[in-house]
Symmetry: C2
Subunit: 208 residues, 2 copies
């Protein structure tokens, strides 16, 4: 069924806006809009304003390019974090993922994407030069690459690796291996092969 006769222009506008979001079709958009119509007016006003404020007032941290309410983000501004280790990630979701592990006390560098010729994203579109500038200052001793293990992620890793390899900084990458809880039988052979090559002393597998 094709729903396109809307009884109201205001309704149609709101549906059109929701339907622009990724993964939301016109039917879902209509369902969401009708839900909002049943909410108190001030709640919908708060919703609308939260989006407008977000887009117009949010900042990117001048150091790590994570999004932030201030010029320097909470992580970069935190004196108890280790400034000598920097974790390179694709986007702010990855910052949140690493933060949630509670296993990392260094700083971040958000590239803002990964090299993807298919999507027209080249090295110049990413925050690579600013990463090099941070390293050249001399306070960073280790860079941890934490990009996706996709072809684009590996390409980006390799591109940055070549740029950084002559600088006086240790370069490491996340361990690739069998996920905790996975059975060997169902692990793909590339991952299993990599986890054999990069095997670790038994004691360090205890998380100590």
């Amino acid at each position: 069924m094709n729903i396109d006769k809307y009884p109201s222009r205001l309704l149609e506008n709101a549906v059109n806006e929701f339907a622009k979001l990724p993964g939301i079709g016109r039917k879902s958009a209509l369902r969401l809009v009708l839900h909002l119509l049943r909410q108190p007016g001030e709640e919908v006003t708060t919703f609308g304003n939260s989006l407008i404020e977000l887009r117009n007032e949010i900042k990117h941290c001048k150091v790590c390019h994570n999004i932030s309410d201030t010029e320097i983000c909470q992580i970069c501004a935190n004196p108890s974090r280790n400034e000598s280790v920097v974790c390179v990630v694709e986007n702010i979701r990855d910052v949140m993922s690493v933060e949630n592990t509670q296993q990392f006390n260094g700083l971040y560098h958000v590239l803002g994407g990964i090299i993807s010729p298919m999507d027209g994203i080249g090295p110049a579109d990413l925050e690579i030069d600013s990463l090099i500038k941070r390293i050249v200052k001399g306070e960073i001793t280790e860079i941890i690459f934490a990009l996706s293990t996709t072809m684009e992620g590996d390409t980006t890793n390799f591109y940055i690796f070549r740029k950084l390899k002559d600088l006086n900084v240790k370069l490491s990458t996340l361990a690739r291996g069998v996920s905790i809880g996975d059975e060997l039988e169902y692990t793909d052979e590339i991952t299993l092969g990599r986890s054999l090559i990069n095997r670790v002393p038994y004691e360090s597998s205890l998380g100590k």
Copy 2:
């Protein structure tokens, strides 16, 4: 993984608002918000304002209670529609569904819900009295019930039927039967039984 450390209060607000929508969890909300962050500022402002305008400016048609930009909706105000036939539906989505068939030229009456004791919705919460008032005026000759074939829909149908049966108006309901394109083998027995009892002359099955 539990994402709850947001790098920005503005981001967190927007995620909280999206996550209030039905069917949208915190992870999807974050994805949508980050998508909006990548859009031009004026587009996000348009989005936010479209929701605020919708909620604060939309009206309900005084006659049929469909939503509308004006006091009387486009359908009720259209002189080429047949004012003597009124289709009773649960909500505005059902108006749109029936309109999309292009098989109905009468008017509507939107109940605003169906009787559902589980959800605390009783007859007094629905636009039933206003339906009776419309009928009492004497211009309506037929009421078509077009509610869902659920227990709640049938209950609402029967409640309204008892209220209207002594008024001088023909009461009909949508035909229930085997969906077009369905195989008999996979049709549930209640539907198949009903479509046997309510069988129609062969010529009318041709849609004439």
